[in-house]
């Protein structure tokens, strides 16, 4: 949960980001969820949780591939920045927390984190990344990703009901 609240806090602070920094944050946000999925695929024995994690891994990899191709086309070199560094540091703490759990406690923690994470990322994309992106193609790409993030959130909330 610590991670999710940090991203949400960042969304409220509205840091100034250049397009190369926006691109880096977008790729980082996707990679973090791929890493969470990797932990779930390794640890969970619940078929619906594993299926969800596989979807997260496949979808976020696809988004990274498209973001990387677009950045190359636009001549934008993604640039590391304070936001992405903060996100990665918090993700490490979340992964450590997830790895310390097992069984139902793990499944619940993973799905709860996915709900919170997607809520936070949607807020960050809508309130920081899209408004601060100057390039129209990059802005459109981020707008196209939002429905996928919202569908992921609804899927996670559906699974969350199994662990109440």
């Amino acid at each position: 949960m610590i991670f999710a609240f940090s991203v949400f806090a960042l969304a409220q602070e509205k840091p100034k980001l250049s397009d190369p920094e926006v691109a880096f944050v977008a790729v980082t946000a996707n990679q973090i969820d791929i890493d969470f999925a990797g932990v779930a695929i390794q640890k969970s024995k619940d078929a619906s949780v594993i299926e969800f994690a596989n979807t997260m891994e496949r979808d976020h990899k696809a988004v990274i591939a498209q973001a990387t191709a677009l950045a190359k086309k636009l001549g934008v070199t993604p640039k590391n920045n304070a936001v992405s560094k903060g996100m990665l540091a918090n993700a490490e703490k979340t992964k450590k927390n997830l790895r310390s759990k097992s069984g139902t406690a793990f499944n619940k923690a993973y799905i709860d984190n996915e709900v919170a994470y997607h809520k936070a990322v949607i807020a960050a994309v809508e309130n920081i990344l899209i408004p601060e992106t100057a390039n129209s193609e990059l802005k459109q790409f981020l707008q196209n990703v939002v429905p996928a993030l919202k569908a992921h959130l609804m899927h996670a909330e559906m699974l969350q009901n199994n662990y109440k």
């Binding site: 496949r58 696809a62 429905p147 609804m154």
Partner: protein, 114 residues
């Protein structure tokens, strides 16, 4: 007085004519099957509900940024392979079905046969 033979022949001819008019009209035309398209975009099937006739063809086209599929929801009686962005899947509709994307179960659609 008319010959009874003619009276019977006339009655028979009338009956036959009536039978032909009522039962031997042109054969019923079967409707020509139509083709429809359901677009997959922004994590939705568009239109989400489609009314068709049995025998019509529906083509699902993935215009989204992610891979999807189209799967019958209740028993998985039919389904498409994975559809990468740009891929399409065509099927002939035989009955009403609720369907969804099994990769993203919040994406749902409905085919209604009239």
């Amino acid at each position: 007085m008319k010959n009874p033979f003619y009276r019977i022949a006339n009655a028979l001819a009338g009956s036959m004519l009536a039978f032909m008019l009522t039962n031997c009209s042109a054969p019923e035309k079967k409707p020509i099957p139509k083709s429809y398209t359901v677009e997959i975009k922004a994590m939705e099937f568009q239109p989400a509900e489609l009314s068709v006739q049995k025998g019509d063809t529906v083509q699902f086209v993935n215009h989204d940024i992610l891979t999807h599929n189209v799967t019958e929801e209740k028993t998985k009686a039919w389904g498409s392979p994975s559809l990468a962005p740009g891929d399409a899947y065509k099927m002939v509709v035989s009955k009403s079905s609720d369907y969804y994307c099994s990769l993203h179960p919040v994406m749902k659609g409905k085919l209604v046969t009239e």
